[in-house]
């Protein structure tokens, strides 16, 4: 149970984050969870060990505005979210074009449940390794 969560919409993100920065909050991280139709994006901030969270629901395919102009440290997390979950983010200061964590031939957006590929239908087959001690 997270205390201190406030639910906001997409166009309020920049204003709320700017107010938190003037107040002296430190940027901790961002989390994204796949909930079927929407992505549930959470922003976490901290001041003197007390946390504050902002929750935004983004529909799949809709772009999310970047906060790397306000907090420089956010751009690494946003690039990672773009790689692993397929969230489109506009206006990052440094854009790695989807290759921050994943290499050229890797499957696209592995943690996204609606994109098939390395989603839920694929079975991972390994070749039969040498058998160990057999007792019967």
């Amino acid at each position: 149970m997270l205390e201190n969560v406030s639910v906001i919409t997409l166009d309020q993100i920049a204003a709320e984050v700017w107010l938190l920065k003037q107040d002296g909050y430190r940027f901790v991280t961002m989390t994204c969870c796949d909930e079927g139709e929407v992505h549930d994006v959470l922003y976490h901030f901290d001041k003197n060990y007390a946390l504050k969270h902002l929750r935004v629901k983004v529909r799949k395919g809709e772009p999310l505005p970047s906060i790397s102009g306000i907090y420089f440290a956010a751009l690494l997390v946003e690039n990672e979210m773009k790689d692993l979950l397929g969230v489109t983010v506009n206006g990052m200061l440094i854009d790695f074009q989807g290759h921050f964590m994943l290499a050229e031939g890797a499957p696209k957006a592995p943690l996204n449940k609606s994109i098939p590929g390395i989603g839920i239908q694929v079975q991972v087959k390994t070749p039969a390794a040498a058998e160990g001690t057999v007792k019967s």
Binding site: E131, G132, T133, V134, K135, S136
Partner: protein
Amino acid sequence: MVNLTNSIFRKLFSRPETLRYPFEKRELPEGTRGRIDIEIDKCTFCGACEKRCPANSLKVTREPKSWTLNPYSCIICGYCIEVCPKKCIVAHKEHYSPNT
């Protein structure tokens, strides 16, 4: 470098810190997890260890009765030792030898 000169001088005339393996082997303490083994006479082939293994390295079949461990994918975590109802899986001290 004045601080270390005394101990460098002392260490020059004492024996080396390394062990001359394989002529001298290291003493392994009791309770070290080196290798997983089973006492097959007590096993009831219930399959609880196979369901719980995080690395999927155990195979248990009821007919014919057999218990197989793949040593190349076992991570020696010890979860199978805890869940076995008959407590017949043990962990020996010595690790797998490269020539078996």
